[in-house]
């Protein structure tokens, strides 16, 4: 754990601690609506962090990350549905399956020198391929979906029933909130630690210039594969959460490209290639979206949400192409490594 807070400015460390205290105390202070939005924020932050490992740090564009959400969700969901296995046990095969799928796609792409947008197309192709496969796979419900039984929406506040709710991920929303919030913090910590090792430096080198990286003795294939696998596994964790939080799984919606795009928008807004950008982006975008939905309904102006959304995106891409976080970090006077 040494190195987790190394080189973090004192102010930033305190800011982070205050933020975490507020987030962890949130269920005591806010209603169910706000809590559900916070869950969505953390969920998207996990996915964004995962995607950012591949794109932001190792420089490999994926537009098919919905694939790993879906694989994670279905692997753990099906094991619970058919065998009653806890999601925490289901998490293991979910990680393995997603990691293996990531390795396969990465290997195919990198082995044949497919780079940039062409690699991105490959990732979309695989997501679509698996979607169609799952649409026709009876065991997991095919295109008519899989529904996880909803239990224990209200639990006793005893230690054992709370522990049980956490173990089975069947319970009230605050259970889910703590799981995904902790997941978000864990992902942040994992990526930060990774970025301070050889692996992190090598990813950045590959992102900046693959030929230069090779000339410095970096086995590019190996480190790119590692990035895809780690990214896929983190995304699969998000997928497991999605399955148990949502309880309904349709291949059509879970593997859709909309989902792949949704998870990367936050990173672009927050700041690609930064550690805090995906989190900031996920929170900003989700709250903006919710706010606009409410305003739209109040004012009864159809399309207001999408319009404003679009304008906000264009504005950020035009004026803050590096994302909000690098800019805010400068305003706060915290210079330093771009990934701090």
């Amino acid at each position: 754990m040494r190195g987790l807070f190394e080189d973090v400015p004192v102010r930033a460390a305190w800011g982070l601690i205050v933020l975490l205290v507020v987030l962890y105390a949130a269920p005591l202070m806010v209603g169910s609506y706000v809590l559900s939005i916070l869950i969505l924020c953390c969920y998207l932050a996990v996915l964004g962090q995962a995607w950012n490992v591949m794109m932001g740090f190792a420089g490999q564009l994926s537009l098919g990350h919905a694939l790993y959400i879906g694989l994670g969700a279905y692997a753990s969901g099906a094991l619970f549905f058919h065998f009653g296995l806890s999601p925490w046990i289901g998490l293991l095969p979910a990680l393995v399956v997603s990691g293996a799928m990531g390795a396969l796609i990465g290997w195919l792409g990198f082995r044949f020198g497919i780079r940039g947008v062409y690699f991105a197309l490959l990732t979309i192709a695989f997501a679509e391929f698996v979607r169609i496969l799952f649409d026709h796979w009876g065991w997991i419900g095919g295109s008519s979906g899989m529904f996880l039984p909803v239990q224990n929406r209200n639990i006793d506040m005893t230690a054992s029933s709370i522990a049980n709710a956490f173990w089975t991920l069947r319970g009230p929303n605050w259970i889910f909130y703590y799981v995904i919030l902790t997941g978000m913090v864990a992902c942040l910590a994992i990526v930060r630690l990774l970025m301070r090792t050889k692996v992190g430096y090598y990813w950045l080198a590959i992102r900046e210039d693959q030929e230069a990286a090779e000339a410095m003795g970096i086995d590019v294939m190996r480190y790119k594969l590692l990035a895809v696998i780690i990214s896929a596994m983190m995304t699969a964790f998000g997928g497991v959460f999605y399955a148990f939080y949502n309880n309904t799984l349709y291949p059509e919606s879970i593997f859709s490209i909309d989902r792949s795009i949704e998870l990367l928008l936050g990173v672009i807004i927050g700041g690609i290639g930064t550690l805090f950008g995906p989190i900031l982006g996920a929170f900003a975008l989700t709250w903006l979206g919710e706010g606009l939905t409410i305003t739209q309904d109040r004012l009864d102006i159809a399309g207001l949400k999408l319009l404003t959304y679009g304008v906000a995106m264009v504005a950020i891409i035009l004026f803050r192409p590096a994302g909000l976080w690098p800019w805010i970090r400068r305003l706060l006077g915290m210079a330093g490594r771009p990934d701090a």
Binding site: K198, Y201, A205, E208, D209, A212, G217, D219
Partner: protein, 238 residues
């Protein structure tokens, strides 16, 4: 130390390197020169595995490394710089060098110490903390050398690192290489147009034109060689 045997490479019928042999003795500084388009950089790319030769062999200390990938060539002990510098633009100068140093020192803390040493050697001062994309051309060249040196190569391949430097800077660079060679026994093979540097540095010069060897020997011999003069200056009409 480095031995190249009848290396041949053609691109769609255009022969870039043809039946070229050269050897670089351990601890020496040798130069590979020739007019533009002679195939010098192609030779480097063949040695470092950026390109695969059509035929021929590359031996490093007797081990065949022909057709190895660039990272494997580097692991085998070949460090190289690129003619058009390839800095890792968004990283700082120090981080660039740390990446190279991580080859031998797996821990980042150790790599940082090694990087510091290399940066000092190449007289990087305050620039070390700058992002690499802010560097001037001479500094980028220096960074190329630093990145390659940080991987602790046994032989260093320098592709026109003096181009664009002022004479004073060239002399400084020459001095650095001489010191490295003297103190650490580093073997160097350089491609260079700046004759001032070639003459000062190298004990042995290989001249190629149109991918084939036309002369080799000491710098003094080579510059008096008629074939060499012809290919640089053109032939006199009879």
């Amino acid at each position: 130390m480095l031995e190249v045997r009848s290396l041949t490479k053609s691109f769609r019928g255009l022969v870039a390197v043809s039946d070229l042999s050269l050897s670089v003795p351990k601890g020496s500084i040798s130069a590979l020169i020739g007019p533009n388009g002679a195939g010098k950089t192609t030779v480097f790319n063949l040695i470092t595995g950026a390109l695969r030769p059509d035929s021929g062999q590359v031996l490093l200390d007797g081990t065949d490394i022909t057709g190895k990938r660039p990272d494997q060539a580097c692991q085998a002990g070949i460090g190289r710089t690129f003619q058009v510098a390839k800095p890792l633009k968004d990283l700082t100068v120090e981080e660039n060098v740390v990446v190279g140093a991580l080859r031998t020192s797996g821990r980042v803390a150790d790599a940082k110490l090694e990087a510091r040493r290399v940066l000092d050697l190449l007289a990087f001062g305050r620039e070390a903390a700058k992002p690499a994309h802010e560097l001037t051309l001479p500094d980028r060249k220096r960074l190329e050398v630093a990145k390659a040196l940080a991987t602790k190569p046994r032989i260093l391949l320098l592709d026109e690192v003096m181009a664009g430097l002022r004479p004073v800077e060239t002399d400084l660079m020459v001095e650095t290489f001489q010191r490295l060679n003297r103190e650490t026994g580093l073997t160097i093979l350089l491609i260079e147009h700046v004759m001032r540097a070639v003459m000062a540095l190298s004990a042995h010069v290989t001249v190629i034109n149109h991918g084939s060897l036309i002369a080799e020997g000491s710098p003094d011999e080579v510059v008096r060689n008629q074939d060499v003069l012809d290919c640089y200056l053109g032939q006199e009409e009879d």
